[in-house]
Symmetry: D3
Subunit: 246 residues, 6 copies
């Protein structure tokens, strides 16, 4: 039995509130249990220098945690003067994952920056961020669509992410912090609405894992991601129908 | 008439929600109109090296804005690798102001760090932060009081802050962003429950101001701060009675 | 009685020597007692990127202390790799204060940078810097005037600054280091020749202050600033007549 | 056909030269085709502060490329003043992978730092680094074993890494630079001698991938890693017999 | 007798291998005994901003040591976030020395960057770097010459460098690490093929030196440099004849 | 004829004023013509960590220029966040030179830091700094001697420095800025009172130089340094007799 009474294959409560920021073109407050993240999407009508003149847009992401998002207070990265390796790894992952479901040519020469700020952390901050950032991205694309007619809708499929892991020999879905720190194998999976993998990152630092265990974890993740995509569809409403899936 | 229909001497709607973070010893979500700040208080049972062995505690503050707290997205200070002068000035002000109503000897050798993270900005982020941080500080002191009997209650008086300014020759209370950018004179006032000044910072970059104007602004600020302290009292409940005022 | 035998309402000896640097367009060595600051004004015939094309000039300031300006040696900020919050706060203040008496349109698209380098510190380095930087600024404007005819003289009023504070319940003018470290209330005032406030920054970290105390301090500051402006007039000579005052 | 005439399931030529540095306790020059990496292992008889007094050792890794390891010259990270996200991600991966086959308690309170410096890059620098660093680590452990009798041999299994990817719909092993830049799916696999996964990092930024494709890639990686471990065994000679495999 | 059995006036074994990097326009692996340096020359068809439009080229150098090039491991400068004073001093020296034998107008508006990366250090890393970088530079100029006809050959003379020092009252040539740490006087000399000095840097931190000692050291250096230039000539082959010497 | 009417073998006017700073244990304002440097010596009764417990003292130096010490204003190194290579090279040179005439064992476990701050620059800032810092160092040692009886006097010899160079084929002493920028060969020499070299740094970036030219320059430097040491003796008065010379 899990410390929050879930079955191994259950997600935590998922809650997505849209339009939580009056300035951002897209914004979301997302919760996976006690993990709470604010995701905002900001549009700029230009692309970074290395992409100029290619007729393509760009999607990028930044990730941060408030100092007291965690059990004990963390020093701000702005005070240390640099981003940690963990932060950089996560924000590279979020950006890469979102780009996999965006047709950058269809988007046109604009940049959408997704900021994922963790307000409270209880495990799974990167999967919560990806899942929420996708919704904020959809809202921002809808915002553009109000005064710009896209030839093709720039978002090509749904995208969500969840963690899975092996704890006491049992494969479990959507680990909270207490579970994450006990897991022997830990995996983050990003998947599309059409059921394909975008990222599979499994780590067995504490104990290597077999092909069978890998398969079991992937099946669990797949099931969780279907549920998350259902929650995303509710959050974005009518715009969901414009995402074809591939 | 102001762009949000207020009279010159009216505050924006003030809203203080306590215990918004499950990890922090004190936490508050505070709104002055559309300015929203999360204030958390984190307790450490030690003081910085320069204060060791003096039998006194320490209060310090940090301030930050989410990148999209503002109309256009700002670069994160962690990415630029350093804090801006504005950020440093504000967090020094918050810490100094709070220390003025804390009896550091009564607090004992512990540090309370107040984090003020601006979720959405519409003018007055520093005054909102001070007002909210005071409440988070009270909650943290109450948290200590649960298992530690203070000889003297460490908080000696209430403390709140508000901005005032002169716009189109009219003195106005609690400026929002649009007003702040038009103000000829801009002043931030921090005051105690017993009606004394802790900080008076008036700037007439656009137009110097006379002694009469200064007096008018201070009177307006005093009135606003009384109302803010009433809101703080409601937020902290019974603990309010332990703050003597001096 | 003060430790240097002054009456509470007396300034320290003020000494302003002009043209102390053969390269700078304006330069001053200024002393308030044992506080010694070199102020240089450097002209560039361009403005920062954010001001381009507006037909206006810009005034900015930098402040630093030699490592052994103080009782014990301080580490250089260049070695620590960043400016302290205190330094940033002071140089923002100096720049803002000077801009309040400059007609930036009349100045034209050029930047004047005021460097205030504290050679020896004994309290009041920021007020000494502002008072000296104003003179260096006047000399630099005169330097431009030699080969450029201004439509309007760009300096609109005199400007000086002094500190005041409450020590042992007595309001005192122009605190030295020993006094500054004992003061319960500490205030820096920047004022124009026509007697208006540009900056009022009062701090009662050690003890909040009443409206009466504030008024007493402001009166003391006003009197000191009149004397400082007299010293500035002597230093700049004939150019003084070109500053109208408003 | 691949641009270097390999079959899809063939590794590039692998070459491991040991003891290439007279100072380091373990050192290796490793080549996967034109990718050349120097791996050194440095022993310190202490652990980082956060691990003190636990009776355990620590394994950590750093990764860098010479500026002209690549087609065009890259700026040194020391000049930019910070590590890139890519570098941090890779060195975290190398350290984590190596720790998975080290019994840190058996190692005792010492740190082994693996430096992987890429002399020439042609794709697969992280997999080459992991494979070479494992050999340097073995040599360093043998170095300790000369004057210290381990209760248990600290290395618990072999460990190697290879990349796989899908190019033109074909799954291929050990991608070179040209292939890597064309691959639609790119995966790095780290595996033990006993055939278990330590890291599986698959990315389909260009095109999501199915479960079948994932399985095909993993099978290819498994086969390549067996061959790499054979090369490692030859390089370390007699010490190979001390690694039990689990 | 020296610890490696050399006579005082003997160089260590010198070995220069060219074209060790498949990407760089010029590359060399150079050894002075156990000191091993990889020197690469990278050509860019542009000059730094401060040199634009002058019709001249630029030569610059960077120097670094692998962390375990030395007896004990050194922290990477990229991790410390800045270059040490020693590194900056050495790379300024290498660049300056090489520019002394390059006709920058003849080179045309292009930049050649020499990277000197010390793989293993045993004293004399800066002299080995200069001597090797000169050869890499020649190879890069030959690379340009393949598709560009120079009016004048841009390299005007040979250039090599060696260290000399006084140990136990004896002047010695080409100090290794053990000797370098015992030397009372330490001098690095850079000289052209025509026997003129480009750099003479002598330091007597441990014991000042007389004019006679200086002369003896310079004579020793001169002899060593002639031998080094012979080794350079062999390394570059036919191109040697294009360097006129002046 | 030189632009300031000196003969080739003449120094500029040298002026040394002592005790210019009320806080520092030793302080000097030194001028070589229009080059003006403030040198302060600060004593700490401890040594850096790497020297602890050896019964020896330490001498270190820092060097900086005020932003407008030069013809055009330079950006502060504190703003750029790091020291330039030039600054580091100079402060390493100053420290090394001073240590050559200090008996660190006789000094005892204390650190003297020499700060050389260039107020106005007109060539030769490093030689002026060394010459002035030596005097500040002597004053600081005298300061210690007031309450501490040294077994041996810690300063073993006088020390001064001057630049020499070749301009229009003529060897000249003590170059000013205009001369320095035209010199084909440029050399800085540091020498003791007993006529031995501590540092000889000659650079022929523009044109290599012969042994004869080197000798002529050294002779010129030697003559200038004798004169500088005479000026130092006057500045330090009676303490001069305590410096034995070796």
């Amino acid at each position: 039995m899990r410390n929050d009474s879930r079955q191994p294959n259950m997600l935590r409560d998922v809650n997505i509130t849209t339009n939580v920021n009056k300035h951002a073109e897209g914004s979301v407050h997302i919760q996976f249990g006690d993990t709470k993240v604010i995701c905002t999407a900001s549009i700029e009508e230009r692309v970074p220098p290395f992409m100029k003149g290619q007729g393509k847009g760009w999607i990028t992401a930044e990730y941060s945690m408030l100092p007291r998002a965690t059990h004990t207070r963390n020093q701000r990265e702005a005070n240390r003067g640099k981003l940690s390796g963990r932060t950089m790894e996560i924000q590279r992952l979020i950006g890469r994952a979102l780009r996999s479901v965006v047709d950058l040519h269809a988007l046109g020469e604009r940049t959408i920056t997704l900021d994922c700020d963790v307000i409270q952390a209880d495990g799974g901050t990167r999967t919560t961020s990806i899942t929420g950032a996708f919704v904020a991205l959809c809202l921002a694309v809808e915002h553009i669509a109000k005064h710009h007619k896209f030839d093709r809708y720039p978002i090509t499929d749904f995208l969500a992410s969840v963690s899975v892991g092996i704890i006491d020999e049992v494969a479990m879905l959507d680990l909270n912090y207490e579970e994450d720190s006990r897991a022997k194998v830990d995996m983050n999976v990003v998947m599309t609405g059409s059921g394909k993998f975008v990222e599979v990152q499994g780590t067995g630092e504490e104990a290597p894992f077999s092909r069978e265990e890998l398969n079991e974890l992937l099946a669990l993740a797949e099931q969780g991601i279907h549920q998350l995509i259902d929650a995303q569809k509710q959050a974005i409403g009518a715009a969901a129908s414009r995402i074809r899936g591939e």
